[in-house]
Amino acid sequence: MMWDTLRRYVRGLWNGRFILAYTLLVSLSLFIITPFLLILVKSLGKEWFGYRWLPPKVTLDWYKWAFEIARVPEVMKNTLIIAALAILMSTTIGICSGWAFGRRHLPGKEALMSIVLLPRMIPPITYALGVAQIFYALKLVDTHFGVALAHVSICAPFAILVLSSTFQSLDDRVLEAAGVCGASPVRTFFHVTLPMIMPGILSSMIFTFSTSYNELTLTLMTYGPDTITLPVRTYLAVGLGYWEVTSAMSVILVIPSFLILILIQRRVAPEKLLGGFKGL
């Protein structure tokens, strides 16, 4: 059976259009993957000064360096704590706003939604300085809560968008049916409403995690020695010139996102995460 598909594949390849299509696809894939491959190889190589395709020696020294000297575990801990706080705040905001946007008639709803999306439309660097000034005044710099709060400005818009779509598609009649079947409002919530909105909430949480985890600009403006996140650490290492260690840290940075993507791609189509909401 495998030979059949292989034969069909090869036969297809000989068709001119397919050759062009495949060439383009392969080129695109290489274009996207090559930087990662480069970093992966660099993080594992010793004495590789760029005049060969592959490094002469393979080593895990750089990873050891990252763990012991760059204190990656502690940095990872910071990153995850901040992400967790950002998720908590964004999801709460998202649920409350999403409920209003999705189920109530609000005057000027479109205008409000545009304002909500504004932080994603403009580069964070433009307002990061302002955020930093306010945080200094409020003594929020170098606190996990402070950095998370800064992240919320870019995480909450997505949460609101996803959750308003979720709540909008929540069918009232189904909830009424639960009531007719004898379920009190509380029981209706736990047995019917919650399971129905859970995919939307999870989707919003994943999006928020990803955004907070990868955020550099806002973190740079609000961090301190106690709240170094992985993106910040990597950025600083680049500035110091330790390319190999930086590569190792980048690989470590990528792994959680990669894992999550693999885990969820069966349940939630990644295309849905990036767009295709009602109203967008």
Binding site: R173, E176, V180, G182, A183, S184, H191
Partner: protein, 352 residues
């Protein structure tokens, strides 16, 4: 069994239910029929408890339930868009009302199996609603509504989302189920043929008011007013004036032609009346046929062949246009001259 007493419900300045008084007997299937916006769904939602009447009371089985929330009213309801729980299987959907009532697992299983057998969907317990067709989803909705044998079954346009052929089949299934289980049922629809086919009694509503309540035959043959006559079945309407009343017959002048119609109590000479006749009660005869009571000369204007019936537009001598439907055994072509007979007993008089 169910009673709406002086129920009035307003949405802002719109009066959705205006002093509705309705009684539904135990074991009967009553249909609330009317055009969109007539208030039938509002009336149903007052019974279920999803709406609270601004005035009036609602009684179920002798108890005043106006202040009782929906989930305590022991009802079963079938929705137009099925409203199945999308995250539960067929089995779990049907089991839900029993689970809420904390019945023992074995008892639940038995009752769910019974319900699934009634709707003929054994073997599909593990499917999710998104894997079912429209008809199947609606049957599951029925099973879920009936599984704990509620006092009353309510159906809110349950067949509107199904295609025409399926609608007819499901009509009989629902009727059978309700009779078999001896349930009291309230059915809401805007489809008058559905109402006539299904119901023990029909309650017609228009603009928030109850127009008439009666058996399908009563509604069809003795509509109480102009609206009902026009809404149920097809009608040809005439305005005229009573010329004379003799015994059980009255002569009515309609644009120059005189019609003999059954006399109603209180008819007097000179009184303006509205008559109507059903298009399929009008008889078409050859021009040369013997004269009969209420037979007039006319000309065929348009003919529409519909297979089992033929629809004619006929013009009478006084420029009166009539819609006539016959069984098609004898076809008249457009432009031909014919005699149009309106049998006196089939002419109905409405009070003006």
């Amino acid at each position: 069994m169910i009673e709406l007493q002086n129920v009035t419900k307003r949405y802002g300045s719109l009066v959705a239910n205006d002093c509705v008084n309705l009684q539904i007997w135990r074991g009967e299937l009553l249909t609330l029929l009317g055009p969109s916006g007539c208030g039938k769904t509002t009336a149903l939602r007052c019974i279920t408890g999803h709406q609270r009447p601004d005035e009036g009371r609602v009684f179920i089985d002798g108890q005043d339930v106006t202040d009782v929330p929906t989930y305590r009213r022991e009802l079963g309801m079938v929705f137009q868009n099925f409203a199945l729980f999308p995250h539960m299987t067929v089995y779990q959907n049907v089991e839900f009302p029993l689970m809420i009532r904390s019945l023992a697992r074995e008892k639940r299983r038995e009752m769910v199996r019974d319900a699934l057998r009634l709707i003929r969907m054994e073997g599909l317990e593990g499917r999710y609603p998104r894997q079912l067709s429209g008809g199947q989803q609606q049957r599951v909705g029925l099973a879920r509504a009936l599984v704990y044998r509620p006092k009353v079954l309510l159906l809110d346009e349950p067949l509107s989302n199904l295609d025409a052929k399926l609608r007819e089949e499901m009509r009989f299934e629902i009727r059978e189920l309700v009779s078999q289980l001896r349930m009291t049922a309230v059915y809401v629809t805007h489809d008058q043929s559905e109402a006539l086919a299904l119901s023990d009694r029909v309650a017609i509503m228009n603009a928030g008011r109850l127009q008439q309540v009666g058996t399908p035959r009563e509604i069809y043959e003795q509509p109480a007013n102009l609206f009902i006559a026009g809404f149920i079945g097809l009608s040809d309407f005439f305005e005229g004036q009573v010329v004379a009343v003799e015994g059980d017959r009255a002569q009515v002048a309609v644009r120059g032609l005189e019609l003999a119609v059954p006399a109603r109590a209180g008819m007097s000479s000179g009184q303006p009346v509205t008559l109507f006749i059903r298009p399929n009660d009008v008889v078409l005869m050859d021009e040369s046929a013997d004269a009969a009571e209420n037979a007039f000369q006319g000309r065929v204007d348009k003919v529409t062949y519909l297979g089992d019936i033929v629809d004619y537009r006929v013009l009478l001598a006084n420029d009166l246009e009539l819609r006539v439907q016959t069984d098609g055994r004898k076809l008249y072509s457009p432009g031909s001259s014919i005699q149009v007979c309106l049998p006196a007993e089939r002419c109905h008089v409405l009070a003006q």
